[in-house]
Amino acid sequence: MSTAKFWSISFLVAAALLLLTRGFFTNEYFYFAGYVVLQYIVLSTAWNILGGYTGYTNFGVGAFFAVGAYSSVVLHKLTSLPVPVMIVVGGLMSGILGFGMGYLTLRLRGVFFAIATLALAIVAQTFIVNWDFVGGSRGVYVIRPQQAPLYGSYIQYLYSLMLILSWVSVAIARTIERSRLGLGFNAIRDDEAAAEAAGVPTLRLKLISTTLSGALMGMAGAPLPYYVTYLDPTSSFNLSYAVNSVAMPLIGGMTSWIGPVIGAVLLGTIQQLATVTISSALNLLIVGVLLIAFVIIAPNGIVGLVQARRRARLR
């Protein structure tokens, strides 16, 4: 797909989702469900910038996501800024967290980074639990404004914001993929020592990758307080965010920007359906089992399967 084609098609898809849904879906539930799927597109795309392109595994998605959400809570209590500004601030905070994490651990083997991110989620949660201003372990209520700023209901407004955000993050991921930066990331993933020897500034690139990935996760989390209206540490730091953000790119395919999108739409939709029809605990089990099954049977995800079939046909 050429660059011009990508921009026009993705813009049309986003615009169609934004406009057509207003006409077709009168039930508010669609926006609640759609918001979650879009949020996972942002999260899995963000995870894939570090995990798929650069080859470093981040299990602390919940921490970055919740830092974005809680920075919005702080802003909500202190100011009356509009949500888009909160998204930017949430992104900044999580980006700083990503930079710090990367700076402390990335000089070592990648495994240590993965373990440190796992522990990071627990420690960030400890801090929030002990911070009374944002509700501590009791949680905090966030009252939505009565009127949505532009049109429709407030949930429609949040849905539109998340749609724009997911379009932006997919566009960022694709731009990186085709740029010198992306080549550097891939070099690190394939062989870090060789990349370093060939003159790739590995530490700097890794820091760019962690910062960018963390920032996008924070941006995805920033509107969350307005979406749920009640935020508590256990639900906002939930391990299921990390499992989903890891599972979606792995199931979709990690090498290309389309992989996380496929994974997020597929898994996100399955989960929404399973939550309504079966139970919310069981749908987490589905994700975990699918993740294990895919890494064993199809390590390159759906995109990998399609590519293999195409290659076989050409031969």
Partner: protein, 324 residues
Amino acid sequence: MRRGTDHGRGREDAAIARGRWVRVCGLAFVPLTGMVSLDLAVNAVVAGLLLGGFYAAVTVGVTISFGMLEIVNIAHPAFIMLGSFVAYIVNSNFGIDPILIGVVMAPVFFLVGMAVYQIYFYAFEQRGEESIQGLAFFFGLLFVGEVALILVFGVDYRFVEASYIGPSLHFGFVDLPLRMLTPCLVSLLMLGVLQVFLGRTFIGRAILAVSQDRLALQLMAANPTRVKRIAFGISIATASVAGALLIIIQPVEPSVGRDYIGRIFAICVLGGMTSFPGMLAGAMLIGIVESITATFYGPSWAPAVAFGFLLLTLAVRPAGILGR
């Protein structure tokens, strides 16, 4: 969302319950401006040593799998949880001693561990895709284990009954609660047995050899895969005992295991990855620091301690405190 919040409250209760044995003098919080009494501090250190002894049992499996075999088994806490719940089921139905259950079930866990390694070997090691896919595999296992336990047992806290849960020994002003002392002693015993096994037996030496030089072992006509399979089985078998010890020390619900991830790997890295004495020293250090934190600042801060140590070690001295 509803269930999530109840869950959160339960977690806090557990933190308080955990704190109960740590803050030995019954003071939840001592203002920094106030006098730090000597007996409080001594009791905190003693409680920390006992806690550290127990942490060694939790970590020894990861020292074998991560340190020696370089298999990043982040699902180890899930196996420990499984051990806890097996101990809970048998204990609540038949009233058998939890430690005995842990030891008797260890061979079953050994077989489970061998099976998991076999899958890991065929799916990842053989294909040379150990990095992200392998990590995601264990991450998936961790998550599936937790969710499966929640589906079966719910998020209620479970505990076991045994004669040594409750009474304490007293030496002057020092308290030794038996529910802490017994796990600590069992853990040290297990560590000693494993140390002798690794040093004296043929298989044990082969495991050490795998951790040092896999190619050389192959040249000696030994099969590294078989040795690793046995070693990984042993590492999971320790989770059976560690799980039984855990449910003696504190009430357990499925997501408690998550708190141990940071702790386990912090201790493993602190101890220099491969050595048992180093690991024990790391465990004692974390135990004491956590216990002091819980006594003087409140138990809700304790989980942050292990992570702080992990980051500090990784940043300053990645070879560990007793490392080369």
